[in-house]
Symmetry: D2
Subunit: 348 residues, 4 copies
């Protein structure tokens, strides 16, 4: 089996990470890479870390260039996917790393993004717990249109879904604060993303519930069983290039014990290849997930505050973006879900 | 007026920062520096950044060495202050940067620290709001025994006290997550504080309400007017040497408006020299406080979650430790409160 | 005495650092700050760390705005100083932090910068050794036009000038490699200065003798006594916001001993307030100079290679730019040379 | 073919990286991991990033534990390899990542290391050019005892060997300055390796020709054709966990042209899988090699100084240690040289 792949938006960070992972994938073969302003350049001049793909040249991001592949990955700015997809055939598997097809509510789309709404695709978080008992994996099998989750959303959803599904925590008083690296913001040229500004400094942004990932978190937790969701979510930029460390807390339901909590999380993830619950008293470092598709979860009960505190670590470019895309693609194509994806982080 | 000063524990980070600030103080004169294992060495060999104090030699940390000064600063491991102070006269102003005399509740001391309890001293957070309407400044005037607050505690207390005093927020569902640099942990030789471990990584510790600063936060918010306090507090180590960025959130009381909230915080801090509320939509960076005694506060209302989200930034070694010590000393001695303290951060 | 000051280019890093230092200067009073595109904004919105100057508003960078002050500092892009200065009176002390007036050779200017040449001003490195035995201080006393050195140039010149003046080292086979932080490049929006690109990475630039600071190094070493100079100089960007650590090496002249070398450096700097030779076996860290006007120098002899290896550390924005400007201004105005300048670094 | 592997010293950084790479190697199977003080612990508790090896337990580092494997990797402190190897059979391939068997000169060993000398093994730098025209690969084929090079040595040797072999540069006036991350120093608990000390700071160590890697550099360049070697080598610690950026310079021989230089380097490395010469004007970043066995080389001629300046980037733990070990093992065993080794760096 030889599966041909195109990556649109190959000059950015998400595109670069897709290519880094795909270059070791035994079944998916990158044939085409495209860009907007960088079209015409050699990939290696724009992504100097991708030595194994030094033979590729960036082509323009146009339907005619993308058509003819078995799988097309989009790593594009928001709003670009809809029109391009319309010109690709229904048999091509299209995997969008942007936000365009994540939200099932057009109203949420209008509030948090705006512009034309192109509808929700199959949501690419295989481990997402369904209240029914299964996972999102079932939805992804055979899919032809996949929307990769937002990176912050993945960190929070994986942290809290087990408690939601098992009704151990209150979905209406969730607080999550995330330490995030700047690569999630892409190669944007803005002063606050300069190394001089970020080195030795931490700062919050999108404070007060304005972050676009907010409705997507609620959407996921409802899939896991919540009736109503209230989440106060604040991202904090810290000086590490990659990584998300999410501290997510929720009120415990009355009478819930620490043992019940640990059992719920253990049950949820015991068979997951990429999501690992750490032993009691252990909490993850983002370094342990760098370059890997792994999510690490540490769990504690704050008895005085009657809250569960869940610390989850992922690499925002892997489990948070490119790794999730490839994992979902593997499932959609009926391949071994773990192909092309590392478990071990590049640490120290 | 010439006021003589001794700094005990001069070889650590807190001691070093005290000395850096004191070296520019126009009224306080450092005569003596002491250490435990480093006694006998030149200060400059242990603190190579303190060029202006290159003439000083580290002496042993003994009462006979410390006595005879007008002011003695302790930057010692927890548990050392009580015995030393017993041998210093009542006229010496003793300022303890450790935890020994912060907690008014012996039960809290026993739970979170343990060992002999030596009683609470005057609490060295001048801007701490009293429910009565005044501030902690009144308590500090003329004091001879001052306990400097914990650095995390200062960041959270300053963030939330205005809402507590004005009854706009609920003290029983507070969540605070802090991005903190490793210098708060001192020069401890432990693997998790190695540069190889921390560079490019974030990690949480003392998760689940076990951090020793927890009861001190509650103590302060009660001074500000809370009846009962529940705070879920998680510190996250991030790769910056100094700085705390605290994201503190609390439920809004029913019917409270954004305008009321902003007014309460503005009123609380409008005359403070070192605590500054940023304009609407602006949030602080820790870099803006490096080396300065400044606390910067950004404020937002998350209407959907009905929470106030307060982001506060301080330098843990200055406003969080050594600056607070000197500010409190200035007040205790009747000096201008701002002497020897910078307002402007060393950025970028 | 009240000396009025204007800072042109106040929205950049060099301008910001000038203002941070000037705000604590007892004799110089900042009356006016100017900018190009940011004119009309409040200074505090562009430089949020400068709380003590929150009352200032950025005005346009025009001669009419700058005239009428006793001292005008330029922190402008190269090529802007000449035309502006032509419209300021000869009695105003003008201090240029840019490159426009550093080079005495118009040919070097044409080769490394290009554009109109406006002539050299008095060179603002007070400690520069003259072959005659004095220092640059004598030239600066009473000066009305001062050109502040390039930051890399200062680090290398201070490292090697003692050996040149005493004829202990060969000026024709100098190699210098500098670890530098990105703030030296200013607030430029270029991809390679993004935090995502720099965090966890080191890279060289201007490799092969193309860096514009090259002729300025040679110029200085000739002032110190060299007949001919050959310097291979490579800057390496590393992930720290501030700081230069220069490793400068030169061949020892025949028969020179380690004792002679140490004595030459000791003699050169023993009375300098801001340049400090470390004891044998000790080498500086850039952290020890952060925020300070201090240059630290460590010295070793590599007997096998018959080279002196000099490691020098400065803060590129202080001793490398703004501190040098103020130190030179103090001298020009007949003030105490150390006013407004810290000796102690902000470490850790 | 199933090849069994033991890794001795699995709790340190070099051991951890060996295991990370080996876990993806299709032919080498890690059966046993050993440690000294950590023996008895689960590997995952000491190396939390190695999720794929969570089933392994650390055993004591004893000959009886190591014997019975086809390949044994040593990632031990210096001086441990000799005695252990004496008890392993001659058919076991032993690969030592320490310094014990690198130096062919017992006198150099005595000068730079001291203690018992156990003789040189086959040197594990496959790309090392031999003056005869071949490479070190020929020596490694079929080898049973391999000494992995020092990480700094690899960076400098690869940078300069092409010029030495082709007699284009002078081996007697080499200067190399390296920006290095702290992981090369291992998990040592020393104050100068603490994150608080290193964040935001650069510092040099082993200045003046005292670094233990110095004789090994000379040894390699002699293999490449130098008669006599003089190298002044200074490592500079910078705040990135991994990576070496070496700036190596040497005098050009009389009459040598830029074109000759470029051709020599191109010829040397055009067929190498892991060593890549960048195009004219391009220079490497360490980030582009993180996690990969790749060495990137940028080349410039400084005509004024008549020096070649070579900038080389490697990951000190991969091409500098564990990757070199596995690459050499592949060659020794007759496997494809690139098995288990990534070409693409984990960037940004």
């Amino acid at each position: 089996m030889s599966i041909s792949v195109a990556v649109a938006g190959a000059s950015g960070y998400a595109g670069g990470e897709l290519l880094r992972l795909l270059s070791t994938h035994p079944e998916l073969n990158v044939m085409t890479v495209t860009a907007f302003s960088n079209a015409g350049q050699r990939l290696i001049d724009v992504q100097p870390h991708l030595r194994s793909l030094a033979h590729l040249e960036l082509q323009p991001t146009e339907p005619s260039v993308l058509a003819g592949h078995d799988v097309v990955f989009f790593a594009l700015p928001h709003g670009r996917s809809g029109a391009l997809t319309a010109e690709l055939g229904p048999d091509i598997l299209v995997v969008d790393c942007g936000a365009d097809h994540r939200l099932t509510s057009e109203a949420d789309w209008a509030t948090f993004y705006g512009g034309d709404y192109f509808g929700a695709w199959d949501y690419g978080l295989p481990e997402l717990l369904h209240s029914s008992g299964g996972t999102q994996r079932q939805v992804l099998a055979g899919s032809k249109r996949i929307a990769v989750p937002g990176c912050n959303v993945t960190a929070i959803t994986l942290a809290l879904a087990p408690g939601i599904r098992s009704s151990l925590i209150d979905a209406e008083d969730i607080v999550a604060v995330l330490a995030v690296g700047p690569s999630g913001a892409g190669k944007s040229l803005s002063v606050n993303l300069l190394a001089s500004e970020m080195l030795g400094s931490a700062s919050a942004y999108a404070v007060g519930g304005t972050h676009r990932h907010t409705p997507e978190i609620a959407q996921n937790l409802k899939v896991a069983g919540a009736n109503a969701v209230s989440v106060s979510f604040t991202p904090v930029l810290v000086p590490m290039s990659r990584g998300i460390l999410a501290t997510s807390t929720a009120k415990l339901a009355d009478g819930v014990t620490a043992a019940q909590v640990r059992e719920a999380w253990e049950t949820a993830y015991q068979d997951e290849p990429f999501v690992h619950l750490l032993p009691e008293g252990a909490f993850p470092r983002t370094a342990d997930t760098v370059g890997a598709n792994t999510a690490l979860i540490g769990l504690a009960i704050d008895e005085a505050a009657r809250r569960v505190v869940v610390v989850s670590a992922i690499d925002n470019l892997v489990k948070g973006t490119a790794g999730a895309a490839i994992q979902s693609t593997n499932i959609a194509l009926g391949l071994d879900e773990t192909l092309g994806l590392a478990l071990d982080g590049v640490a120290p």
